[in-house]
Point group: none
Chain length 208, copies 4
DNA sequence: TATGAATGAGTCTTCATTCAT
DNA sequence: TATGAATGAAGACTCATTCAT
């Protein structure tokens, strides 16, 4: 069996086991067995548990980002782009729950090397969203320019909301089209909020 | 030294170590040492590593919820309640980064017993927010009643956005009042979004 | 059982196993079993295989040097001191063959940390001998002063000769007093050689 | 590439790696790579790690003995023969430090099969020296016949001294002709010592 | 209340060795 | 002649947990 195929099987198995057990609890024995290979072969191809985990993170991260970016047609208007990006995000995470679990739950809680890696991925997502927000503001005829830091904050908020909704709607059983519903909910929230902000309508605490 | 004091020291130490190292990597030795007690005593008081971790989750969760609820004056108008709740959430997580790390990062990634526990906490937060949204809708003269599932989705989105913003703004260095800025950003986003929804102004994909 | 006693038993066992199997081949399992303790206890007390081996080297080295130095009466004449030192060296190595094997065979062939440690020990032995040679020269009315480098060379040669003789005579079976014979042989060789050198009688290759 | 050439490359590589890492720590992977061949080929030609190590020992041992014997002209007087033998010994070990390390450090510390092999070699060296001593005694007009066991002891002492001096002088840096100096030092020591012994002048402990 | 001493079970990792080609 | 692919066996090390005191 050629090396590349074997290697993909191994990473597949690793993603599954890491998602199920967590990084530390997962054992290389279980991963090797699930991959249908011997442990030394896993080490020969992937070096160490750390490297294997990194490989999982990288592969799943690239896949997620690629899915989102493929869905965003640069020629479409901003709202359409946002909508399609959200749809792709929810669809992809719903279709790859193990990969999403590795990225969202495991990678962040097991120390520097992985946290950094997944932070870099997340930053790329945030960047995509940041650009969408900026474009939305511009195309919507932004009356009051938003400061860069606020845009970044909004992007973080949206990404967090998406992550949270993904976890929730994927956890609901049986609701066949829940990932579309999630996208709609978030789209409504975001669209109205962004529209108001770019028009200078802000909420302010009443003076007490 | 009375048992209660000792026990609190132990949980303090455990929260710190679990936050720094993660559940599996943290060792009972380190926790006992940091607590200034011997290991058998830790076991005598807290039974097992699992129970100790559960105790950490429970204590930090109660503290966070209590902080949020204490800030929400039931007599105030809905927007004010939401604002105060957000402020309290950001302030508390910023003030207790270890506790927040245990709840947000560690507890979710280490198997059933803890994930359930933290899910229950999160549900209570979501419930608080759900009620806020419902009240907001009612007080705002809700033209179009929101289905319960959508309200829940919004609540999850808001909580996720808050969590994400908390992580981001706590990570920024030097910006003295960043947790207030985070609350403002999120408040603007949420307020406008909710307002639109309760008035039936929804975004819909253009027919293609 | 008090820690010190256990620790000595462990080092005893380790010296025996390291001598028999060699550093790398020796297994911590075997050492622990021979010491009558569990492996974790060995690690608790002695940290690692490396540290355990170092502890063996240090203990055996100190014992050997102490034996030699105890035998050398500073008030005695130089020849007497040399003789007593040699006797003690041969007697000690004969009485502690495992310790000698660890020092002479194992410690030198297993990488920097140990080689350095045993080199330091050997240097101390060489220093003792160097001083004896210098004293011998002085007391013998040295006609031609020996250069420092040559004295060091002589010391190394004597120590090497002693080591070699020790290995040989300890390997001979049955000869009850062989370690005394070894000392005599070496004493004769050294005494005459030193005497000639300090009197300027050197061997020189005939011109060809 | 013809088998003999390949095989020599492999043993060359093995000597280097064994000298650097030690028998157990050396890996067949590294040896094969350094030899520029694949691992199965190494096994095809040399059977096993043990056999490969034995091959190294044998080759280096033969080379050393051959060098010493080539230098000893049977027609020359005994002192000349001793001198030339010493010179050749120091020169060869200085020129082949890896081979010498394998013989002197590694082979003795890794269990029966190798220790026996290297002991046999050493015995041949000792035999050469033994004959030299006996000849010296005869040619020097030996007044008091030396018992065979003492001659053997002297030979062991000389070989050990030579080994020790070789290690020391090879370790010194920069002294361009140190292997000649080593030979001189040892020659002086030996010559005078032997001369005295064959003339019955012995050192004896003063009666106490 | 408090602990020094002790361990069973399990993990990552390595390496000599062999097929199938 | 030559090798890419594969593994069984073994070893260092760690840790949650428990007695005896």
């Amino acid at each position: 069996m050629p090396r590349e195929v074997r290697e993909r099987q191994m990473v597949d198995a690793a993603v599954e086991v890491f998602a199920r057990r967590g990084y530390r609890t997962a054992s290389m024995d279980e991963i090797a067995e699930l991959a249908g290979a011997s442990k030394p072969l896993v080490y020969l191809y992937l070096n160490s548990k750390e490297d294997l985990f990194s490989a999982c993170i990288r592969r799943e991260a690239e896949a997620l980002i690629a899915a989102v970016q493929a869905a965003v047609d640069p020629a479409a208007p901003a709202d359409r782009r946002l909508w399609n990006g959200l749809r792709a995000f929810f669809a992809h995470t719903a279709a790859h729950p193990d990969g999403w679990a590795v990225l969202h739950c495991q990678a962040r809680s097991h120390g520097e090397p992985f946290a950094l890696e997944v932070a870099a991925l997340r930053q790329r997502l945030v960047d995509v969203v940041t650009r969408l927000i900026a474009d939305t503001a511009r195309e919507g005829g932004c009356a009051v320019p938003l400061p860069g830091e606020e845009v970044a904050g909004l992007a973080h908020a949206l990404v967090g909301a998406a992550e949270s909704l993904a976890g929730w709607s994927n956890g609901l059983t049986g609701s066949g089209r829940s990932d579309r519903a999630a996208a709609e909910t978030l789209m409504n929230l975001a669209w109205a909020g962004l529209g108001n902000l770019t028009n200078g309508r802000r909420w302010a605490p009443a003076r007490s």
